[in-house]
């Protein structure tokens, strides 16, 4: 909880829920007749609506990207380090839109929303959503907000995939695509980690084939394990080493199997906290969206062919110790952009924090992000 709001904070923000009545057809073939999207906006849309920036969230993210919901809130939005007055995504210049994606569990329509056809929660009946579906719903959101063309679509990790997909699906509706710590497709190892997470959830006795709400329970244990596995992949060996090393909670080994090492109790704590605030069906859905993402698939694996329609300029950033989506994956993307004769800038930022580095403001990351977004702002007269 802040005693007073920092001067570079967007301050107290209030989410809005937008209702959409027109049916949306999804990649899986199913249709949602109506749905809600929860959004937050920061800054002011200018007269010609040219200064809008869309923030796309990652696996466990949501619409609350910056500022505080109240003075009682313990921590600001998940990307507060990069969004605010004078920050890289400068809310004095840009109109920033952040949403909870379809299928999420923070207010937008998802598995724990009520299915109007059955008057019960969707649960496992909620359709599997793809990155393309999200982009489609975000384009409808842009229509609603009167934004014909984004100055930039920005995202890290799964959010970066949406920023990339935007450039393929709506090439004339964004000027810049900022793809951070992302990948053009998951590797077998990435999918394997997702599968372990899903198995942890679905094998939880409380899962009940996804209908846990009917039984008034949640697969807490499975969700906790899923998060523990995921969390390991977000950090680097070095950053875990620095934070915990082999430190014990007590002085000596107890020759048992309780959490004796600090890293064990940290992971358990993170897992437990997550299991209290995240929905298991949404976790399954998000990891599947990650698995399925592969824009090159329809082009025989040739990403440069998939990029042909793109019309925007790209900024691609990777982090040296990210072993979930390594710099090599970003370079694969960059090379395809080069081959497709697109405008792209790329940097690999030296940071010790693994995949999570995209959320942590290291000097070089901030400098680059500032310089690039400043130029985007100048370009649109913001």
């Amino acid at each position: 909880m802040p005693d007073s709001l920092p001067t570079d904070s967007v301050g107290i923000v209030t989410p809005q829920t937008l209702h959409f009545d027109a049916p949306i057809t999804l990649a899986c073939g199913q249709t949602l007749d109506s749905y809600d999207l929860v959004i937050e906006t920061y800054g002011t849309l200018n007269a010609d609506a040219s200064n809008a920036v869309l923030i796309c969230h990652a696996l466990s993210g949501h619409h609350h990207a910056a500022g505080y919901h109240s003075m009682e809130e313990r921590k600001p939005g998940w990307w507060d380090s990069c969004i605010g007055p004078g920050k890289p995504i400068d809310t004095n210049r840009f109109f920033v839109v952040s949403l909870n994606n379809l299928g999420g569990c923070h207010g937008s329509t998802g598995p724990n929303s009520v299915n109007p056809k059955t008057a019960k929660p969707y649960g496992p009946d909620f359709p599997v959503i793809t990155v393309s579906d999200w982009v489609q719903s975000q384009a409808l959101l842009a229509d609603r907000l009167g934004i014909e063309c984004w100055a930039a679509v920005v995202g890290g990790s799964l959010g970066g995939m949406q920023a990339l997909q935007w450039s393929l699906d709506y090439p004339d509706r964004l000027r810049h695509s900022v793809v951070i710590a992302s990948t053009p497709r998951l590797t077998a190892q990435n999918i394997a980690f997702n599968e372990v997470a899903r198995q942890a959830i679905t094998s939880d006795r409380e899962f009940h084939d996804g209908r846990y709400q009917d039984f008034d329970t949640v697969p807490r244990r499975g969700l906790m394990l899923a998060r523990m596995v995921g969390h390991i992949t977000y950090l680097s060996d070095a950053s875990m080493g620095e934070k915990f090393g082999r430190e014990l909670r007590d002085q000596a080994y107890k020759f048992g199997y309780d959490a004796e090492f600090q890293v064990e109790s940290y992971l358990r704590y993170q897992g437990e906290r997550f299991s209290e605030m995240f929905d298991a069906n949404t976790y399954l859905l998000m990891t599947r969206a990650l698995d399925y993402f592969d824009p090159a698939y329809e082009y025989g694996g040739d990403l440069s062919k998939a990029l042909a329609p793109s019309n925007c300029e790209y900024l691609v950033l990777s982090f040296s110790t990210d072993w979930r989506f390594t710099p090599a994956r970003s370079e694969e993307m960059v090379n395809a952009m080069i081959a497709a004769k697109k405008r792209v800038s790329y940097a690999e930022i030296d940071a010790p924090w693994g995949h999570d580095a995209f959320l942590i403001p290291t000097p070089r990351y901030t400098d680059i992000f500032n310089a690039y977004m400043d130029r985007v702002a100048r370009e649109v007269g913001a």
């Binding site: 790329y346 680059i368 400043d374």
Partner: protein
């Protein structure tokens, strides 16, 4: 504008696609984009330079020629591949030249002449490793690990069947001087070569 860049920009045609190896803070590419309608990329490894490029709208890729080469660029992707004052700092200048003329139709290369009289003087009379305005480093910390003379470079081009379309020689301030034209390998400090493998 620096006179060497002035010469280079005359060799870049409007609308050309350009690759600048070691593009620095992007001054040249920025100029070529704005004034000649050229497009393309800069490759750079200096973090501050990369940030400056991004801020001014020059497409820049963080890529190390020594370790990564140019394998990510297809044959004949560019009209012109530039390399100003960086040939002497790469591990294998011969291979870089090959790659330049694979990905581009034409190369423009500038480097300091190690046979300039002042450098010869330093080595011959003082017995010390030469230093100059164009080569301001100590022997132990210089990034310039592959120094050569104009004659060396031209011999390498002959050996590799690389045609020198033109050569301009300037002094340390990048000014044209009649002395440098008279006896380039002795009096010229920096040369700007325009090279190609194409016949015409």
């Amino acid at each position: 504008m620096r006179p060497d860049l002035e010469i280079i920009q005359q060799w870049v045609k409007p609308g050309n696609r350009v690759l600048d190896l070691g593009c620095g803070d992007g001054t040249l590419l920025d100029f070529l984009q704005r004034e000649r309608g050229a497009s393309g990329f800069g490759l750079e490894i200096n973090p501050d330079h990369i940030t400056t490029c991004m801020g001014r709208g020059v497409s820049v890729i963080e890529q190390n020629l020594d370790t990564q080469g140019l394998g990510n660029f297809d044959d004949r992707t560019f009209d012109t591949v530039l390399m100003t004052q960086a040939l002497q700092a790469v591990r294998r200048p011969d291979m870089v030249l090959e790659e330049m003329l694979r990905v581009g139709r034409e190369g423009i290369v500038t480097f300091p002449n190690f046979a300039h009289w002042r450098l010869r003087w330093g080595l011959t009379l003082k017995g010390r490793m030469p230093e100059s305005e164009a080569l301001p480093y100590k022997w132990y910390n210089t990034p310039n690990i592959r120094l050569c003379t104009f004659r060396d470079f031209e011999a390498l081009c002959r050996q590799k069947n690389i045609r020198i379309k033109s050569r301009r020689v300037v002094d340390g301030q990048h000014q044209n001087s009649w002395l440098a034209r008279l006896w380039p390998n002795m009096l010229g400090e920096i040369a700007i070569y325009r090279i190609t493998r194409e016949e015409t």
